[in-house]
């Protein structure tokens, strides 16, 4: 990242596109608090708090969600138990009432239906033995369970067939609200046919070099990134 400025208001959907190696996934990792990355300068104001002062868990508790590009398989930890543990901590943090077992299970049922995730999968170990599409749907299911203020979707569409993409998009669209923002990181304009963004940004060499309305994505799809590189050189 080399000096990136971006403001996302409540309820907005922003898409970030860019060629390989432009820093898209780095941005997602830095925002979520992956300690493999060191932030040397700047700040991230998240609804009044600086995210950079917090570890990944505190950021999540503040309402940030990252849908992983490569969801991690965790043998021995069931999807349900880990979500229960996460919700418990988030509720404690926000000082709101804990869900009863019955409320929790009702929520699981409702949210898994949203992404057509089989009940068997919700009880299995996190992502273990899931297909690529199931893993991505599981990310959206978790997002629906945790109801974040802002969600970053890191190439959630990559490698998905059209049916899975439609299901994922349907889950995201159902979650859109005036209070919730999204940052979609993607290679492909196709995703944006299903999840229509308010803004599209082009990331190149760690900077946002161009921003525009959703039509910018179509232009990128058609012409590639070279014209932007040329425009920059001028």
């Amino acid at each position: 990242m080399k000096g990136l400025n971006l403001t996302i208001n409540p309820g907005e959907v922003h898409a970030i596109m860019g060629p390989n190696g432009s820093g898209k996934s780095t941005l997602a990792s830095v925002l979520a608090g992956n300690e493999d990355y060191e932030v040397t300068g700047g700040s991230v104001d998240f609804d009044g708090v600086d995210l950079l002062d917090m570890d990944a868990s505190e950021r999540a508790k503040e309402g940030l969600f990252l849908a992983f590009q490569y969801p991690v398989e965790i043998p021995g930890v069931s999807n349900i138990n880990f979500l229960r543990a996460a919700l418990k901590e988030i509720h404690e943090y926000k000082k709101i009432d804990q869900l009863t077992a019955k409320e929790f299970l009702a929520k699981v049922k409702e949210k898994s239906a949203l992404v057509e995730l089989d009940g068997k999968l919700t009880n299995r170990s996190v992502n273990e033995g899931f297909s690529g599409g199931e893993k991505k749907r599981n990310e959206i299911f978790q997002m629906a369970m945790l109801e974040p203020k802002m969600a970053i979707l890191d190439e959630t569409d990559s490698g998905l067939d059209i049916d899975a993409l439609r299901i994922v998009a349907q889950g995201v669209n159902a979650m859109r609200s005036p209070e919730r923002s999204f940052l979609l990181i993607t290679h492909y304009q196709r995703l944006l046919d299903y999840i229509v963004p308010d803004f599209v940004h082009v990331l190149y060499k760690g900077q946002i070099v161009k921003s525009g309305p959703k039509e910018l994505a179509l232009e990128l799809e058609e012409k590639g990134y070279d014209w932007i590189k040329e425009e920059m050189a001028i």
């Binding site: 969600f65 021995g76 543990a85 996460a86 996190v126």
Partner: protein, 436 residues
Amino acid sequence: MDQRRNGHLKHQNMETTTVKDHKKGAFLERFSNADALVNQLPKLQEEAKIALEQIELPNRRTESWKYTRVNKIIKQEWHAGDSSIDIDKSLFPNWNASRIVLVNGVYRDDLSNIMAEDGLSVSSMKSALAQQRDLIHSHCGSLSAHKEDLFEAHNLVSAEDGFCLLVGKNALLKESVLVENYISGNDVAAINRNLIILEKGAQLNMIVANYSDENEVIFSNDLSEVFVGENAQFTCDLVQNHLGQEQFAINTIWANQERNSRFTLSTSTLKGNWVRNNVNVRVSGENCETNLYGTYQLREKQHVDNHTMIDHKVPHCESNEHYKGILYDQSTGVFNGKVFVRQDAQKTNAFQQNANIVMSDEAHMNSKPELEIYADDVKCSHGSTTGQFDEEAVFYLMARGISEQNSRELLVKAFIGEVLEKIHHPEVKALFGEEE
């Protein structure tokens, strides 16, 4: 010149041997015991005596002791502990079934509480030797390797008590039996020898818990011979909780299985500065099932060594072995699992797995699975993995709002969980913070 050097070297070797003999002699001298059980078992006494003369102290070249040092045990001035002291602690305070209590290797009638149940008989080894002489003569020492292993021979010549538990023919014990083995005092050595006999069709579930307190210097050498009769079922959860720094515990189990029987043992080392477990099962009858499970979570300079041996002698048997451990700080672990599948043992299914997570650069794990297969129609597999903690998984859980500490605990539990779920007694699972 060469000759002189050779001569010099030879001389040095002789000297080392003498020093070692002297060390061994001084160590064994401390355990000479006029009340030892073996004094009434002359044949075994003779066998052990010969073994102790012939077997050298284990050193780095001794294959079965390659990673576990015994010098400190040999050097220490051990003496017998007070077996009459009061014991006011238990990991199972609410236990309301049969309880056997040993204090410093001696069976305590006053603290033990044996429920009247059809087919169950329990006594001290001392009184069994007096009252059931034939039973002891025919069983004691018939499985153990006191002719080959120094510490087994040491156990045989030193033990003056232990428990003898018999489950009669077709007796299905409804309630589990708890054995609590306390060792307490300073520079105290506790040596005991036990017999567990399940007759044909018998069923026994038991918990064996070995304890020693903080700030005490302890050595224990505990040996049990388990006879699982035809169609009998034996399940045991062994718990080890040695809280002090200078404590050395050797725990040896020898089992023999007759046909259609099941032997299941879990070993949970909650804490132990220096622990050596030997589990040996001879599968002598067809259609047997043998299950060995183990967990260890080692911190600081703890050292835990699990040696197992399963000997498949006959066809149509199955064995499962699964040991999992986590090593923190400067701890070291050893796993050595031997499985023999003899030429006659066709259609054997033998599975063995040892998996470890090493949490620090200074922790070490030595894992050695050994399969010796002489039969040609068998299904056997073994695996050993030792790796680092999955930091990606930690980040994934944290990114969902779970604190770092809880994320790590969740992952540790998940890793060990596969073995924990094999533990039979909920009371033992509860010691790991699992819900009953």
